[in-house]
């Protein structure tokens, strides 16, 4: 969600005064940074220079603090990454909010509240506009599959005919709220081949490619806006499910799209994945929290205290609550009161308690809990989806694509609005982001708590999520920069969990969450505020890794493309291995399984990681590097033999290494290189 629209002219006049002050701050920051060569600061809006450093210390003071404001000429700071290109919006899209990205072949498709733009990014230093398609809708969330492009419409002004005049009538057959489908076989001339109208519109959507179904794709619709009237779209019911079982609340929509006949796309189910939610809405508990509360409960029970289950958890019941109940039981048999209670009375109370509690705390009916999801990330390779649904993060089983079911749910009192999910590649962890304030508010000020408007990282154990830590952009932003956790994707560094993420005007942040308890920033890019005198609309909506580069959709400034530079945190070999991963297309909310082709870079990436973790001795690391270099120089049978020998040796060494898992991965990569 984004709240702020573009600002009107009074601000333009005011903003002329302030740049001098901000500029001096930016220059000051840059000069102080002379000793931290990994960082580039640019106060003049020129392209950031490239530099790299083997220092493991983040630049201090943080060069993101105090950057000069400006729409197209803001100060910039980067660390361990560099700008390849900055491309302003094309004419019909200037001043209108850019939104999410999807990729196919050499194209980046950039949603915009006015339609979408297709950029050819074959040369990432010089993207060229291929198509600018005007068809207004908020938020124009985009996905692509083969020849089909899907675009979300949620707002009240979207029109079936793509007109720009809006729809003012409260009930209108001209309004589009739902999913538009375009045939982009000729990418320069998209054709609108179908539309699926939904009751609450589509804030976001998720394309699900079922590995078992070659003829159809599925689209999960998320949207928590108001329910339209039944006069506008027959069948839409805004009453709650207890009053009308056809309620459009408390469900998601699943659209099935026949690939040969996209015009026949239609809603095939409306799964009620929120029913009977009982997870308590409290701070995500770490394993030690859970153990401690278990201990407290066990001790209380051993002590003979009364417990009861309500709102999804067993709790110790206070004496203030038990005493009157016991009192009534004793009096009922003619006794004098609770003080005269016998063991028999206590047993009677224990038997009666569940029914009494059920009466006092009716089970959470459909009035509570989420009525919709904000976004769902599907990971078909592991049959799971992460649903970010109002106050909950959920794991869904999606093996039957039209009928997703909930496996588990978590809530967290530090989380406001669960926004989106990203799995790590092996599906053992999931990261949820909290878009506190909807994306239009400045939630990264020095005074804002680190655990609010952040990411929460969970491990997945037997289908249950266990809280591990929070990650938040570590650089304080001004009150005029909307900043909160937003969209991102994995960066395919083999053997590690590394993610790039957008934080609106907080810029983009690359972090390593391999150690789920200690996520750590390892690169960034940021600009100064759009406006130094007031909250302006801008910032990066989403940033995704696609075939070797990082592509960011900047709400106001256009399309930015970055590349990572080698550093103490990511070696050249790791970057080369990451760049060996190729996607034919990418929708970040349809998470692809990353696989690395066998390359020497992949093997060396693991060697570099073993050097970092000290998983092998320095002499052994050197001899492994030599062996790989010699094998690379050799060919045919000699190469194969050398690699096979190395792989066998490494497998045997794994058991004695402090990082045996990584040694085994290295052995596997070498074995694959040998082709055996």
């Amino acid at each position: 969600m984004m709240s702020a629209g573009f600002q009107s002219s009074p601000a333009a006049a005011r903003s002329r005064v302030a740049p001098f002050l901000s500029l001096s701050l930016a220059v000051g920051a840059a000069s102080m940074l002379a000793c931290a060569p990994a960082t580039t600061t640019s106060g003049m809006g020129s392209m950031s220079g490239s530099s790299s450093s083997m220092s493991t210390t983040p630049p201090s003071p943080d060069p993101r603090v105090g950057l000069r404001a400006g729409l197209m000429d803001a100060g910039e700071a980067s660390w361990n990454m560099r700008v390849l290109s900055k491309t302003p919006p094309s004419e019909k899209f200037v001043g209108i909010t850019n939104s999410d990205l999807a990729f196919t072949g050499n194209y980046a498709i950039q949603g915009n509240y006015n339609g979408y733009q297709v950029w050819d990014i074959s040369n990432p230093t010089r993207p060229t506009l291929r198509t600018a398609y005007v068809c207004p809708a908020s938020q124009s969330d985009v996905s692509v599959y083969r020849n089909l492009l899907f675009v979300s419409g949620e707002g009240l002004t979207g029109r079936l005919d793509c007109g720009t005049q809006g729809v003012t009538a409260p009930v209108s057959r001209e309004r589009l709220r739902g999913l538009r489908i375009f045939d982009i076989s000729d990418i320069a001339n998209p054709r609108n081949v179908g539309n699926v109208q939904t009751c609450r519109g589509s804030h976001t959507h998720t394309l699900l490619v079922d590995p078992k179904d070659a003829d159809n794709v599925y689209v999960y619709i998320s949207g928590s806006s108001n329910v339209r009237s039944a006069e506008e779209l027959p069948g839409c019911v805004s009453a709650t499910p207890d009053k009308d079982p056809n309620s459009a609340l408390f469900r998601i929509e699943v659209i099935k799209v026949p690939l040969a006949h996209p015009e026949q796309a239609a809603i095939v189910s409306s799964p009620r994945i929120f029913n009977d939610l009982t997870a308590p809405a409290r701070h995500g508990e770490a394993p030690e929290d859970i153990a401690a509360s278990r201990q407290r409960l066990d001790a209380a029970k051993a002590h003979g205290e009364f417990t009861g289950v309500f709102f999804g958890a067993e709790r110790v019941l206070p004496s203030g609550m038990i005493r009157p109940l016991l009192d009534s039981i004793v009096r009922a048999r003619g006794g004098s009161g609770a003080a005269a209670a016998t063991a028999e009375d206590s047993a009677t109370l224990r038997r009666a308690l569940p029914a009494m509690l059920a009466g006092m705390f009716p089970p959470d009916d459909s009035h509570h809990g989420p009525t919709q999801c904000h976004d769902i990330t599907v990971y078909p390779a592991i049959g799971l989806a992460g649903g970010a649904c109002e106050g909950y993060g959920m794991l869904l089983d999606i093996r039957d694509p039209a009928h997703p079911t909930r496996i588990s749910a978590v809530a967290d009192s530090n989380f406001s609005y669960w926004h989106s999910a990203t799995f790590n590649n092996d599906g053992t962890k999931v990261l949820f982001s909290d878009e506190w304030g909807g994306g239009g508010q400045p939630k990264c000020r020095a005074t804002d708590r680190k655990e609010w408007g952040a990411d929460a990282i969970f491990t997945i154990v037997n289908g249950q999520m266990q809280f591990q830590s929070y990650y938040k952009l570590p650089a304080a932003q001004t009150q005029y920069e909307n900043c909160v956790a937003h969209n991102g994707s994995l960066v395919p560094i083999p053997g590690r969990d590394v993610m790039i993420q957008s934080w609106y005007q907080g810029g983009v942040s690359l972090f390593d969450w391999t150690d789920a308890r200690n996520p750590k920033e390892i690169a960034f890019f940021d600009r100064g505020p759009v406006d130094s005198t007031r909250m302006g609309s801008g910032g990066t909506w989403s940033v995704y890794w696609y075939n070797g580069v990082l592509v960011s959709s900047e709400i106001a400034r256009g399309l930015d493309i970055f590349e990572l530079t080698p550093s103490a945190f990511i070696s050249q070999n790791e970057l080369d291995a990451a760049k060996s991963v190729h996607f034919d297309y990418l929708n970040a909310q349809g998470q692809p399984k990353l696989t690395w082709p066998p390359t020497f870079a992949l093997a060396r990436a693991y060697v570099d990681q073993l050097e970092r973790s000290r998983g092998l001795s320095s002499s052994r690391l050197a001899s492994v590097r030599d062996a790989l270099a010699n094998a690379e120089r050799a060919s045919g049978g000699a190469r194969q033999g050398a690699l096979a020998l190395l792989a066998t040796q490494l497998s045997a060494e794994a058991g004695s290494s402090s990082d045996g898992g990584k040694v085994t991965m290295l052995a596997g990569a070498v074995r694959q290189l040998a082709g055996i």
Binding site: S3, F311, E390, Y417
Partner: protein
């Protein structure tokens, strides 16, 4: 780009954004004005938490409400100022409306009466927690009903900022109501 061109690009961007802005209605103005006083009361209520012996969970909730609703008040005031409309101060109390040339005072849905505010002001400790949660659930339900009324008004919420803002208020406060219901269960069963 030279700086003159930079300035021009910014001006063009703003002009285009203005020209494409959909019309706003009296209902939009009413919503963006009335919600300021509504939010202001939530902030006054929440500021009591640290001095009224609130539990850590309620204090944290109150801190979140203050942070969220202060920022949202700024959003509403900015939206009104940009349209050269009267900008109400962030003060709790009834909304002043002029109808047929007469000024009327109107209490927004869910707002606490003076008596309720006084009762909350007197409460301490667990009783403050309980009352705060009950009152704030009432207050939030009022806000979500204001959103429903806005969307039920012909022509309203076409403006991009109003549409997003109203949706944000609705989902954030609906989520918070569910959280407060559970907190209330905790408070009622606390030893």
């Amino acid at each position: 780009m030279p700086s003159a061109e930079q300035g021009q690009a910014a001006a063009i961007a703003r002009a285009r954004a203005d020209s494409l802005r959909y019309p706003f209605t009296a209902a939009d103005i009413h919503f963006m004005s009335a919600m300021i006083g509504h939010h202001a009361q939530a902030i006054v209520m929440s500021r009591m938490a640290p001095t009224h012996g609130a539990s850590p969970a309620v204090r944290r909730l109150a801190e979140r409400i203050i942070n969220a609703q202060q920022d949202e008040i700024a959003t509403m005031q900015r939206w009104l100022a940009d349209r050269r409309l009267p900008v109400p101060e962030a003060r709790p109390g009834p909304m002043k409306m002029t109808m047929d040339g007469m000024e009327h005072e109107m209490m927004m849905p869910g707002m606490l009466t003076d008596a309720q505010m006084a009762e909350l002001e007197r409460a301490r400790g667990p009783e403050f927690d309980r009352l705060f949660l009950v009152d704030m659930i009432q207050h939030h339900r009022g806000a979500t009903s204001m959103v429903r009324d806005l969307f039920a008004t012909p022509g309203a919420a076409q403006d991009e900022t109003v549409f997003k803002f109203a949706n944000d208020v609705n989902v954030d406060q609906t989520t918070e109501i569910a959280r407060m219901q559970r907190l209330l269960a905790d408070v009622m069963t606390a030893p």
